[in-house]
Homo-oligomer: 198 residues x 2
């Protein structure tokens, strides 16, 4: 399998980390959907990161779907066992995805020529980003877990925020989120896929 | 359970259809993330549609995660059986999600004050929308299937395109996609959740 996309994308990074946790063998190609468009198109003409080239050549996209395929191939799941734990992990995964989505939206808005930025839209997505981080902060601790889908996406979303748009969210604004992310970043499966590798 | 969001969202609609296919009991509340913000906030202050209020009050978001919870509750999956069919359905689901994402992005760009629209961004997302639809068109037929995640999202994405941004994609531009969507719209589980219900 081949995973395509830059590790500064929280979605590429969550897939790489999940693949490693599941013990899968795959190649990673650091290709940007903006700076390397011709090369990206050889994998996926939709310029969607992450893309996964499966063993039979089928090209998948969307990180949650790539995780499903990884779990199919590994014949095991990273989701916790037990109805309550599974529901809670879906809750945390959703919050992490919203935090990551809104952080990416903030970055995209910032990349526009200044005259084409919308103050109303910026205000909305920046509030959503902060509100998502505040809801993660308010949830019960992850404890030591650094491996479930919820634990991973919340940590990589925080990593993206602090690496790509650090002026929008202070390091000490959400101390439980930051502590969880630091614990994750210290694990072998996160260290294998650092955000600033390329 | 309570599903929150307007059916003109392809993601709300895919969840409602999946819930019906799985035989689940849930209420649906048509609440807009733009026009009904105070009411939406009573369910989810992140204004993310769809949101799902689980039976224990936990609020989930992201349609793919809501589908996972629905499958947990129903103790069965809408995904096909067999490695090849599962991979193909993930492929179609990814294409449908990209088509829907880009159609929503086109609509959001169109909603901006004219001076704040970006021609470069519009060109990029409109091309991605058409390229995603072209890739769905180029795939092997869904046959009669109107129930797998891939079949459903491709059909609701087409419904959104033709209902919300019809001037961007002609009805006859992707005849196999349109025929698949028409077959889905004729099914009982789609008719239960029409896009223009509200």
């Amino acid at each position: 399998m081949q995973l395509i996309g830059m590790l500064d994308s929280p979605y590429v990074r969550r897939c790489a980390i999940a693949g490693t946790l599941l013990g899968l063998r795959f190649e990673h190609h650091s290709v940007s959907v903006f700076r390397h468009m011709p090369r990206f198109a050889t994998f996926n003409p939709l310029y969607k990161a992450p893309s996964l080239v499966a063993d039979d050549g089928t090209v998948l996209m969307d990180s949650s779907l790539i995780l499903q395929h990884f779990e199919d191939v590994a014949a095991r799941s990273l989701r916790p066992v037990g109805a309550k734990a599974r529901l809670h992990d879906l809750r945390m995964t959703g919050l992490g995805i919203v935090a990551a989505d809104k952080a990416v939206a903030v970055e995209y808005e910032r990349k526009r020529p200044e005259a084409m930025r919308s103050p109303d839209w910026s205000k909305r997505i920046e509030a959503q980003l902060h509100d998502a981080l505040a809801l993660i902060e308010a949830e019960p601790d992850f404890g030591e877990d650094t491996t479930t889908p919820g634990a991973v996406i919340c940590a990589v979303a925080w990593g993206f925020v602090r690496y790509v748009i650090p002026t929008y969210v202070a390091q000490d604004a959400y101390p439980k989120v930051a502590a969880h992310a630091a614990r994750c970043e210290a694990s072998a499966h996160f260290k294998a896929w650092p955000i600033d590798r390329e």
